[in-house]
Symmetry: C2
Subunit: 211 residues, 2 copies
């Protein structure tokens, strides 16, 4: 396992340099199943486009190519990576997937497998680690998924419009998060492609500053 992780880290460093050289900002989007990763990436690709930046997507999933097809319909170049049951992506599959895309200057989103545990061990060569944490999952998640909440640069608190309906205690969430991380925190509530707050704009600002 140690050897495997070391090999992965070396490949990830190589990916990071490769993306940088091509003028690509690589964003690893992680989150639990159903946390709203795909919806968030879609809204971000629209927001970035308004600002003249292209997006590309590597879609990780155990099975199915539903999500990559949805991006292609929006004319966002996307490659599906099916892990066939594996619980995370690694640097090797990312490089392989990226080479199937027509790479150009812009933002490459990696949608990781829906999992709050295993992906926190595998550097993919990203420049930004973004976690989608949905309000219905509850405000206790940072207390329970310690490695993931320690690992990330940026949290999107998704489905924020359900806050009252599910009794989400934002203060408790922040207390848990701050014990582990200085990650930036933004709220999103995206329905039918429209963010009802300003979260998506603010995350786009963050990404543009990270170039």
């Amino acid at each position: 396992m140690q050897k495997l992780l070391k090999e992965n880290d070396e490949l990830a460093q190589d990916n990071r340099a490769f993306f940088k050289e091509k003028g690509i900002l690589c964003v690893n989007v992680m989150g639990a199943p159903g946390s709203g990763k795909t919806t968030l990436i879609m809204a971000l690709t629209d927001e970035l486009k308004k600002r003249g930046l292209e997006s590309m997507v590597l879609e990780g999933d155990l099975y199915s190519s539903l999500d990559a097809e949805a991006f292609e319909q929006k004319k966002v170049p996307a490659v599906q990576i099916n892990t066939c049951g594996e619980c995370h992506l690694d640097a090797a599959v990312i490089r392989e997937g990226a080479e199937k895309l027509a790479l150009r200057r812009g933002v490459l989103f990696i949608e990781n497998v829906g999992n709050l545990i295993c992906p926190a061990e595998f550097d993919l060569g990203e420049h930004v680690k973004l976690l989608a944490s949905s309000v219905p999952e509850g405000d206790d998640k940072p207390f329970k998924y310690v490695p993931m909440f320690s690992y990330i640069d940026l949290v999107a608190l998704t489905k924020y419009d359900l806050k009252e309906a599910v009794g989400f205690d934002r203060e408790n969430f922040e207390k848990g998060l701050r014990a582990l991380s200085e990650a930036s925190l933004f709220e999103t509530a995206i329905r039918n492609g429209k963010d009802r707050g300003r979260g998506v704009e603010l995350i786009a600002d963050f990404l543009i500053k990270s170039f």
Copy 2:
């Protein structure tokens, strides 16, 4: 890995016989982070108590003992199993945890780690595999988490009161589930310990019939 799984399967068989001999029905409760596993188990322990059946709980979590403490407050015997970052429970930690409980006739709930992937590979020695799948996670989950949705005996569609708010398409969910499994399907909407449908009662019926 093959060897590890084989060893686990043997231990699991042994656990199953051990629980049966003691008059215990063992239920492995799985689900994504925030799918409502703890809340569901709590409501089931209350419902079973009304019918004269005791419950015991093995609480799996990467870190923290929040959930076991909550059960102890309700006077339900509980042991916390911290996996220290591991993404699943296995038959060995279950046996070790169970031996710390004062075992008696009744239902032993195992709350697995919040993860829709890895736990589907590890038989724990349970008699019933129960999946909590929450409505806000979306109706596409059976299409994406194929091994888990193939593995289970029983699905609790939790937070069902949010169906309209999140646009959950139940027909699509059932289509995905039925392609993989004949698992029984019940809806729950538990708030402040009260099920607003009859899902908890029906799941309790299912468990009692499984003894």
